[in-house]
């Protein structure tokens, strides 16, 4: 099976540790992982902010880069949802009122639609790939901490990953999973919403943070670093001491890591100070 | 061009070339027959209505009892209401709608008694259709107390079965519990403009 990692532009640039964790994890599970170097961005930010033409161009690029793989794994619910849920809409709806969106991409609209039909069904969020494709829920991880999980909107309501992530977390040795009150409520990130409607975004996050703190968890886990960047940035600003970690990073951790170079020890100090915060 | 023509022309231009739509009707068109009456009673009670389930022979006694408990002496009685339902309450003064009762008279009445056209178990709904024993709509609206007799065979399990039984040419009133509002903090509070007390007698 040819498995490609779509690391996403955000992880590539700001959170390489998440990409490394996916590689470590998939190798441990016996997967050969390729990293197609032509990859950049799925186009989500552009499409969702109203720059559809630019978004379509990035989408076309994505489809070219990831054609021919048996599976494409993305450690991001929103990027996977963009590809799987929104590309088909781009192909048959959103461009309709302005056909110009496809003028600059090769193959035009019909070529785009064909590529969408060909590539997107094989794009998975990490938890989907592990549970549905590899058929594992116990990935052999060890992480002795109290963790709460935020499901993120696009995983929950876009991809409908359901309880896949928490099934994976429940099988992590040493990990105590505590339920997050109001888990299915949006954290307020929303891409450019976070700056365009900063006050509302912050109000939403304040409630999310209060819920996180009420769990007494040491670590907030999610499968999307964009939401984690927003929640983590607030947790750090408020000096809560709660650390954020991507699902891949927890699943990649094993007994060997404790105290080692890939240590997942929760830092005792304000994470913002030691440069770990998102 | 008249506004009518203009609107129709705009509609036609707007949807020109749009594909036709197929309507999937995969939902239930019948409900569970088992426990139909019990479900109806329970769901009417959920709306804070008073419910009695009695054998048909005891309707008159139950009605008389309810009226005396309520202290209802002047009762609006629509045309065609089965005479036997009131046979145990001879002292109750009957207000008949012929000539039509004025709003003030209706307002001064102690209550109204009716039958119904159909009732829905799943939703605890009674439908009045201005047929015999139901009267025109104001009769069940202005008085503060509504006593309704529902026959076993009038209770259908689900909404689709009720819709199928009803005649849209008649004005219909679907009643689910007493008048209520959700306008204060989105919580249901019973008792606004319609009858604040709904009492239902289910005759088996």
């Amino acid at each position: 099976m040819r498995v490609a990692l779509f690391v996403t532009c955000l992880n590539d640039t700001l959170f390489p540790g998440t990409g490394k964790a996916v590689v470590t994890l998939l190798r441990r599970l016996g997967c050969e992982v390729e990293f197609p170097e032509g990859q950049t961005c799925c186009g989500q930010m552009h499409v969702n902010t109203g720059y559809r033409d630019e978004g379509v161009r990035l989408a076309r690029h994505f489809l070219d880069v990831f054609a021919g793989y048996d599976a494409v794994v993305a450690p991001s619910g929103s990027c996977a949802a963009m590809v799987r849920e929104q590309y088909p809409k781009l192909a048959d709806g959103m461009g309709a009122t302005r056909p110009g969106a496809f003028a600059s991409v090769h193959g035009g609209r019909s070529g785009f639609a064909r590529a969408v039909a060909e590539v997107t069904p094989r794009v998975y969020d990490l938890s989907e790939f592990l549970v549905d494709v590899l058929g594992v829920t116990d990935v052999g991880a060890y992480f002795p901490h109290r963790v709460t999980y935020h499901p993120t909107c696009h995983s929950l309501r876009g991809l409908r990953v359901g309880d896949r992530p928490t099934r994976l977390l429940r099988n992590v040795r040493g990990l105590e999973l505590v339920p997050l009150p109001g888990a299915d409520e949006c954290c307020g990130f929303g891409g450019t919403f976070a700056v365009k409607n900063a006050a509302v975004s912050a109000a939403m996050c304040a409630d999310k943070v209060a819920n996180i703190e009420s769990t007494g968890a040491e670590v907030l886990c999610a499968a999307d670093n964009s939401c984690l960047m927003h929640i983590g940035g607030t947790l750090s600003r408020q000096r809560t001491g709660v650390r954020v970690m991507h699902l891949a990073e927890i699943l990649a951790a094993t007994e060997r890591d404790v105290g080692g170079p890939m240590s997942r020890e929760v830092p005792a100090v304000d994470p913002a100070v030691n440069g770990e915060a998102r | 061009m008249s506004s009518r023509e203009q609107i129709l022309a705009r509609v036609r231009a707007a949807v020109a070339g749009a594909p036709e739509v197929r309507i999937p009707r995969d939902y239930r068109t019948t409900g569970a027959e088992a426990g139909r009456v019990e479900r109806f009673a329970e769901r009417v009670r959920d709306y804070k209505a008073v419910v009695h389930v009695v054998p048909a022979a005891e309707v008159a006694a139950t009605v008389a009892d309810a009226l005396s408990r309520r202290g209802a002496r002047r009762l609006v009685v629509p045309d065609g209401l089965p005479e036997r339902w009131l046979s145990a309450a001879p002292s109750v003064e009957r207000l008949v709608d012929d000539p039509p009762l004025t709003a003030a008279l209706l307002d001064a009445a102690d209550g109204v008694i009716t039958g119904c056209a159909v009732a829905v178990a799943e939703t605890g709904t009674i439908v009045l259709g201005t047929g015999p024993g139901q009267g025109r709509r104001a009769l069940t609206l202005v008085p503060d107390y509504h006593l309704c007799v529902v026959l076993d065979e009038q209770i259908v399990p689900s909404v689709p079965e009720a819709v199928a039984r009803l005649d849209p040419a008649r004005p219909l009133t679907w009643i689910s519990g007493p008048s209520a509002t959700s306008d204060i903090e989105l919580n249901r509070v019973e008792g606004v403009h319609g009858p604040r007390t709904l009492e239902v007698v289910i005759a088996l």
């Binding site: 992880n11 109203g50 299915d184 450019t192 | 995969d26 939902y27 709509r137 199928a164 903090e185």
Partner: protein, 472 residues
Amino acid sequence: MSAGPGTFLGMPAFPKNAEEALEDSQLRFNLRKATHTIRARRQAVVDELPDWAALRAAGKAIKDETLRNLDRYLIQAEEAVTRAGGHVHWAADAAEANRIVIDLVRATGETQVVKVKSMATQEIGLNEALESEGITANETDLAELIVQLGDDWPSHILVPAIHRNRSEIREIFLEHMGEWGRPAPADLTDDPKALAEAARLHLRERFLSAKVGVSGANFLIAETGTLVVLESEGNGRMCLTMPRTLISVVGIEKVLPTWRDLEVFLQLLPRSSTGERMNPYTSTWTGAVEGQEFHLVLLDNGRTKVLADEIGRQALRCIRCSACLNVCPVYERVGGHAYGSVYPGPIGAILTPQLRGTASELDASLPYASSLCGACYDVCPVAIDIPEVLVHLRAKTPHAPAERLGLKVAAWTLDRPSRLRRAQRLASRLRGLLPRRRLPGPGAAWTDTRDVPAVPEESFRDWWNRTEGGAR
């Protein structure tokens, strides 16, 4: 009374309105309490139906089919209403609709009308139009009454006074009921039952003497010409039943093809809106009944423009249940006023810019009043993909030059992996210089409440290259 659309004109953009609303802690408390209550109730009664998904699919398709053949169904409805003794009027816009209603009221010689809450009449500003012609419109819905007495604006489709809690309502009643009619009892408490009783007494006299009623409708059945109004309090029944003349203003998208279609919508609507198995009262009538004179005003007012947009037209499926408002995290925190329209919340964010256009700053900002969390789409009983329409409208509205430049540069960079790599390396080299707590320019909107993540020494792609995917 200031609940008309005119009041909203000239309002600043959504983010500004939202910021102000967020400072009102009482408002936030009221909204939070109300929306969380209704969410739980809706969920419970929706879960009770094993065929909810099938009902939702049918509801969506019925509406789509209606819209596809709307010309035919409108004509059919007109014929049926006329056959049943009613009169049908067509209004291309708000002004024409108001004119028609004013003339009809004038013809009765009355100067008072009783109204049952209707979004369509709010949308066209009917109350103000009547007022300017010396006709008083009395709102009879409890929440509308609260809004009208408090000289306030509606902030929710279903519960226009959702932003008020019981003690505020008590004060409004005590202070203002006397100005309009029977005053509230001096010993009025804030018990919801007592408040409802005060409203009952205040309005009773007016109902019983009303000569002209004005309503909207939830549905209009083309096949039979039947109008359908769902309500709770009985004020609707009063307005529909007691007056000699009844005028119903109905948007053209309210049509349903057949009587049978009600079997779907009478299940979808109550459970989605008030979270009940059924609302207390639903009235249906066909033409002129019980000696009444009946007028139906069919309203376009921008709807055909919405219909012409392939993506946007799904907003016309809306049955105004307000489930999307109740579940929306943005609405929950800022309330309805910030949306500057009679249609607030997610549905307002897609409907208002389509009905009114995006010429004003406020209307142009509405498609962005969402984090695209998708909760609205999940609960919508007619499956309106609100996020899809929001994104579509964002693409249609013009962008600010600075933002445009920023996103163009980003797109240029992301267009080629080589450019992305260069940008990443530049960022890594400058990582020490990047402030974590206070970004300049537009970045300040981020760092006002959030720290910025540290830029890593090396991007993922550089790490992959250097180590051959971790092999070295």
